[in-house]
């Protein structure tokens, strides 16, 4: 494992058995996932911003058309209170997307702070913080999040807080590792020897090495964050009725089993967003870790 990691890619490619070097698809066709993901995300952002223009019907107030199947008037049908499901799915994007983003921002901030402090100071500070990280890792995240929302009272804000509380340790570990390895690098040591202050070294030399990987991780996590939030809402601990939210809508779908459209469409919306973010994140990861990437041979 070790010598392969240090081996330059060109050399690795030379060691590749002939039978593995088959004809491959042209480069432009092999990056379609990232582009697909990007397009879907952009579409959703437009939908989010222009939601009232796209979906004219009231997403919250009930009407008299209960549980009607998808039709020309109601593309996605209506739910048990007669609300237009299409309109609710569209408006729900205004909840899930920004909050998923916010959740990741909070988790990244806490994680970066803890990880940077641990990696920079080292010693007992490091041990203490990393044991804390271990403990939060071992604690069943979803149960902790459920308890916290139950204590604070079920609402979207509290769900975000609770999830931030259980998701930051991943970032803390990564940032600590990055700060450690960057801090040990010779050029940082030299700058310190030349008399640069530790803040300067952190800001100018260490930080740039940390930001990139953390951004990739964060992108990967937005999809995950949306899923977790929707999961809590599905359990009734996040969004409260009558506000439209994808997870809560799927939950309404389980209560009206025969009306398949109530739960199916919000789920599909969620699926498409999360998949798009994972497409982008996965391609970004390829760029950072070319060893296991899809299509690395061509780029080397």
């Amino acid at each position: 494992m070790t010598d392969l990691e240090t081996m330059p890619i060109a050399q690795k490619r030379a060691t590749l058995p002939m039978r593995l070097r088959r004809r491959r698809l042209p480069a432009s066709l092999r990056r379609p996932l990232a582009i697909t993901g990007l397009v879907i995300v952009v579409i959703w952002v437009i939908v989010m911003v222009a939601a009232p223009l796209i979906a004219h019907q009231d997403p919250i107030n009930p009407s008299s058309e209960l549980l009607s199947a998808p039709s020309g008037a109601h593309w996605f049908g209506t739910d048990e209170l007669g609300r237009d499901v299409f309109s609710r799915v569209i408006h729900a994007s205004r909840v899930s997307l920004p909050l998923g983003f916010l959740l990741v921002v909070i988790a990244v901030s806490i994680g970066c702070l803890v990880g940077a402090v641990a990696g920079f100071f080292g010693g007992w500070v490091d041990s203490l913080l990393m044991r804390l990280v271990d403990i939060v890792f071992a604690f069943p995240a979803i149960i902790l999040a459920m308890v916290v929302t139950a204590v604070l009272g079920p609402s979207l804000q509290n769900a975000v807080l609770a999830l931030a509380l259980v998701t930051w340790p991943t970032y803390a570990r990564v940032v600590r590792g990055l700060v450690l390895s960057a801090g040990r690098a010779e050029y940082v040591q030299s700058v310190r020897l030349l008399g640069a202050s530790s803040t300067r070294a952190l800001r100018k030399d260490v930080a740039p090495n940390v930001v990139g990987p953390v951004l990739v991780l964060a992108t990967l996590d937005i999809g995950n964050a949306i899923l977790l939030l929707a999961g809590l809402s599905f359990l009734g601990l996040g969004a409260q009725p009558p506000n439209p939210e994808w997870g809560a809508m799927v939950s309404e779908g389980t209560a009206n089993f025969q009306a398949w459209w109530i739960g199916t469409f919000p789920g599909l919306a969620m699926f498409s967003v999360v998949l798009a973010f994972n497409f982008i994140g996965d391609s970004l990861r390829d760029a950072i870790d070319p060893r296991s990437s899809w299509g690395s041979g061509e780029r080397s």
């Binding site: 392969l4 990393m130 071992a138 604690f139 069943p140 979803i142 308890v147 204590v151 994972n278 899809w294």
Partner: protein
């Protein structure tokens, strides 16, 4: 994983320079030292978890005395209850008291079921275990298979298809997948039951493991076995979805890490069959990294179990934990958290050990 081994190596170094004669004999042998170090680290974490869950219960606004006696209790009764259960003692005393009970296997009484939490866990854990085990088996067989396939067909169409499949598995909302599959298999096609562990008309098999499928098999009750299997198959398939996605990705990159190596080429050059090369040489070397992921999968499966058990009315620990959390049933919450953390630590401990056994290099670092 890498950070952990890094931390332990740092500890070994700082503990280092003393004369080796003064150390116990096991210290000089890498494997026992490795085991002991991991074990101690797990104990520390477990202790931290009891501390956190204890503080959590203190942060909860609910008054345990009111919760236990009901709203009609007189102040005198409440005071008496507090006195008896030591609720007015300093927090440190309460914590010591709690730990004492814990070490005697006493987790308190659940407020929702009025059973001891220990007994509740005993009846709910096997149900989740049945579900999770089947899910893990499915995920391992399919995920590892997909991963090998993707690596062997690197950058050709099976690889691309499997990449999308794997990402879909990670991205699909578990509860939505459950709903869709239930709608199709139960409501539309009527192929599988809609929830629960067994048809109401069936009597559960005699209790041995608590897992209905296994118990039914042990007693030769075929009809019960088939019925229980029909009930467990859909929820565990849903549970397996995201693990399949993760395992595919990890297996693929683990296989790619070794497939280019000289010894694999040498094996091919010797004219060994493709099957021998893949299973005997490549997979053997990729196995340690794949096994590491099992610890990760566990957390994954548990999160999914909370959601899946709620949809399928599966009387497992996820549903119990959810009900405990939403009703602020403190003893049950602490019991579930401790149990899950314990399993998590044991799984990771075993994974670490397996890793050390399979890859001797890790022990000496």
């Amino acid at each position: 994983m890498s950070l952990r081994s890094e931390a332990s190596s740092a500890e070994a170094v700082t503990a280092g320079p003393g004369p080796s004669e003064s150390r116990p004999s096991w210290y000089r042998r890498p494997l026992p030292r490795f085991v002991a170090g991991r074990f101690l680290a797990s104990l520390v974490i477990l202790f931290g978890i009891t501390l956190i869950s204890f503080m959590l219960t203190q942060a909860v606004p609910a008054d345990p005395a009111v919760a236990a006696l009901g709203q009609q209790a007189t102040p005198a009764q409440l005071a008496n209850y507090r006195e008896v259960h030591g609720l007015d003692d300093p927090l440190v005393v309460q914590y010591v008291h709690y730990m004492k009970n814990l070490l005697h296997g006493n987790l308190g009484v659940s407020q929702q079921t009025h059973n001891s939490v220990m007994a509740d866990l005993g009846s709910f854990v096997p149900a989740t275990l049945e579900l999770a085990l089947l899910a893990m088996v499915m995920a391992t067989v399919i995920g590892v298979g997909f991963g090998i396939l993707a690596a062997l067909y690197r950058d050709r169409w099976p690889d691309h298809v499997l990449r999308v499949v794997s990402l879909s598995g990670i991205s699909v909302p578990v509860f939505w997948l459950a709903l869709v599959l239930l709608y199709l298999f139960f409501y539309v096609w009527g192929l599988l039951p809609g929830g629960g562990r067994l048809d109401p008309s069936m009597t559960p098999p005699p209790h041995v493991t608590g897992m209905y499928t296994v118990d039914a098999l042990l007693h030769g009750q075929w009809s019960v076995f088939v019925n229980a299997l029909q009930h467990v198959i859909l929820p565990s398939a849903v549970l397996a979805a995201s693990s399949i996605g993760l395992l595919t990705r990890y297996t693929r990159s683990a296989v790619l890490d070794v497939i280019d190596q000289d010894y694999v080429r040498a094996a091919r050059a010797q004219g060994l069959s493709e099957r021998t090369v893949v299973f005997g040489y490549v997979l053997r070397a990729a196995l340690p990294s794949v096994i590491t992921v099992i610890g990760l999968l566990f957390a994954n499966v548990l999160t999914g179990a909370v959601l899946v058990e709620n949809i399928f009315a599966w009387p497992g620990i996820g549903r119990y934990g959810y009900q405990a959390a939403s009703t602020l049933d403190l003893p049950a919450i602490m019991g579930v958290s401790l149990f899950v953390a314990l399993v998590y630590l044991v799984v990771n401990f075993v994974v670490d050990l397996l890793y050390g056994v399979l890859d001797p290099r890790i022990r000496v670092t």
